[in-house]
């Protein structure tokens, strides 16, 4: 009975989310183009050492594979794939494809050695090892390459795993930046949220409810409204700069927008309620008598606060901190609209690879990294909180 009632939602989630996410994870390791279009070539190159000239049979296999492609679109996909591996791969494949399906069709069939001559005569680049290495490396249907690339690793020609050149290590930097921004936001939320949650917890239920509504208004307000509001406040002519200048705290207006400051401020604003709510619910259950006891026994109030009160709120700090951090690492809209080029987080690059670069393998691999990170953190959250995620 229980399962029968649960089944509709389960099936619904399966179809709308879990299957697409599974497909995304598969795409992160999928490498179908070469395996699908050049099956015989892959077989002919299987025993090749990748350092000397490939066997003549491989040349014949390329010509044979290209000739038996069903449609030009498939050759195009293959050419694009090899081009992303070795620049020039597209013209090499498309040129050979046109020859194979065009003029060579009317010529008599030749043996492998003659086919090698014919292909090199058509395009001398067939003598260059890098194109053959790219074909051999991508001949398998599944590849770890995208996942490796998403943490700045790659396979060498002989298949060993190595770090990419220093100046090309972009993804570890992006990942580091994502963690850095999220950590800064989490810390800011904790520093701002803790006193406020503490104050709310000392008020009567009626007063706390009224003030809680003030905390919840921004929580319910659309994220895009809040982004627009922060642009208004933080711009050069904005209220924040006007206030700082009229207080003579700064002489020049500060640049607060389209840089890290703007991203951290607005993300803190958006995520603060997620810190306050768990802190508040833990603090409400901490009896104030312990603090009073410590003070009456001679402890200075501040020391008593940090040594007696704060330790009792660790569960709230853990829950709020993890929740804010988990939500922060997936942020996209706020950095995209309020950050500069150096403030974009992992999500931005996932979107970029999907929509702009149309390199879906890379997009999916980065998505897999983000998903895995989030799930690990969520598992930690579950151990700390021991209850379902709930915002109610």
């Amino acid at each position: 009975m229980a399962l029968a009632l649960t089944l509709p939602l389960l099936v619904f989630l399966l179809v709308t989310l879990l299957v697409p996410i599974g497909a995304l994870l598969m795409r992160a390791v999928e490498n179908p183009e070469v395996a699908r279009s050049l099956p015989a070539t892959g077989a002919a190159l299987a025993r090749w050492d990748r350092r000397t000239e490939p066997p003549a049979a491989a040349f014949a296999a390329v010509a044979g594979d290209l000739a038996s492609l069903d449609e030009g679109a498939e050759a195009g996909a293959l050419a694009r794939r090899l081009n992303s591996e070795v620049p020039g791969g597209r013209s090499l494949i498309m040129g050979t494809y046109r020859a194979v399906t065009g003029e060579w069709k009317s010529q008599p069939a030749v043996d492998a050695a003659a086919m090698r001559e014919r292909m090199i005569a058509l395009d001398p680049r067939w003598q260059e090892l890098k194109y053959w290495q790219a074909i051999a490396k991508n001949a398998a249907r599944w590849t770890p390459d995208y996942l490796l690339a998403s943490i700045d690793l790659r396979r060498g020609i002989d298949g060993s795993i190595e770090r990419v050149a220093e100046d090309q290590r972009v993804f570890t930097r992006i990942l580091g930046r994502t963690f850095q921004i999220s950590a800064a936001v989490t810390l800011a939320c904790l520093l701002l949220g803790y006193p406020l949650a503490y104050w709310l917890s000392t008020l009567s239920a009626r007063q706390a409810n009224v003030l809680m509504i003030l905390v919840l208004v921004p929580f319910w307000t659309s994220i895009l409204v809040r982004v627009a509001a922060w642009i208004v406040l933080l711009q050069r002519e904005g209220l924040v700069n006007k206030a700082l200048m009229s207080l003579h705290l700064v002489a020049e207006p500060l640049t607060l927008l389209f840089n890290r400051t703007g991203v951290v401020i607005s993300m803190t604003h958006i995520l603060l309620p997620f810190m306050i709510l768990p802190l508040y619910s833990v603090m409400k259950s901490v009896p104030p008598t312990y603090l009073r006891a410590a003070v009456s026994l001679g402890s200075p109030p501040l020391a008593a606060f940090f040594r007696v009160y704060v330790p009792q709120t660790w569960p709230g700090i853990g829950a709020g901190g993890l929740l804010v951090f988990i939500l922060a690492i997936g942020y996209y809209v706020t950095p995209a609209l309020l950050g500069g080029a150096d403030d974009q987080m992992l999500s931005y690059y996932i979107a970029q690879y999907t929509n702009v670069d149309v390199n879906w393998g890379m997009a999916c691999a980065l998505g897999a990294v983000l998903l895995a990170t989030t799930l690990v953190l969520y598992a930690v959250y579950r151990r700390v909180v021991k209850s379902e995620l709930s915002l109610g």
Partner: protein
Amino acid sequence: MSLLPVFPAYATLLDKIGWWALRVLCIAMLTFLLLPILAIIPLSFSASSFLAYPMPGWSMQWYENLFTSSDWARAAKNSFIVAPSATVIATILGTLTAVGLARVQFAGKGLLMSLLIAPMVVPIVVVGVATYLFFARIGLADTYFGLIIVHAALGAPFVVTTVIATLQSFNQNLVRASLSLGAGPVETFFRVTLPVIAPGVISGALFAFATSFDEVVVTLFLAGPSQVTLPRQMFTGIRENINPTIAAVATLLIIFTTTLMLVLEWIRGRRR
């Protein structure tokens, strides 16, 4: 609310300073939370086309702009097609699940719950890319249907968690009484269980509605030009040219979502 405290006799000067420091800090914090939202509202009535203070005068031109713009009208129409549809699906499926799961214990329930609330945890951009790539293959990209079902999936976990929370205090004897008096399980659900848990269902539905109504990332990937919603239109507006029309939309949205929230708090207050 007593603004001036009555300190007990043993309170030291340090205690009093601490109390005042905390008040000042907290009021500063509440200002930080509310000021941005309050600051944008007057600018929507500004006579200037710059989003800056001081305003040279008052005008309703940005609201006129808004209500005569076909882009914004279409975005509003789309939002009020997608969000209510997603809410209905999420609420029906979520409530059924909650009713099924609230009273039973079995091995794997924890795992099942994790699966059901997965949409709350999975990074939204992953949902966006995954559904975009998958739906494009099966012809659901750029359709209302595709957008609605993903928004429903994102909202359903809120319904499940709030309704389960409400069912914790539901007296199961009411169901037994109803069944023993001859009502069928379906009639019992609609005439006994549902009226009692209605506040939970409505809260969950409001959460689901807000989730869809404010969703922009999945919409960026999945919606075609004809499915642009309000947040999606705002995203374009903010990115390309932020002007007081955006402030006018923002003001209307603030009024709308604050009303939703107050309704929710009122329902919760009645439940307590």
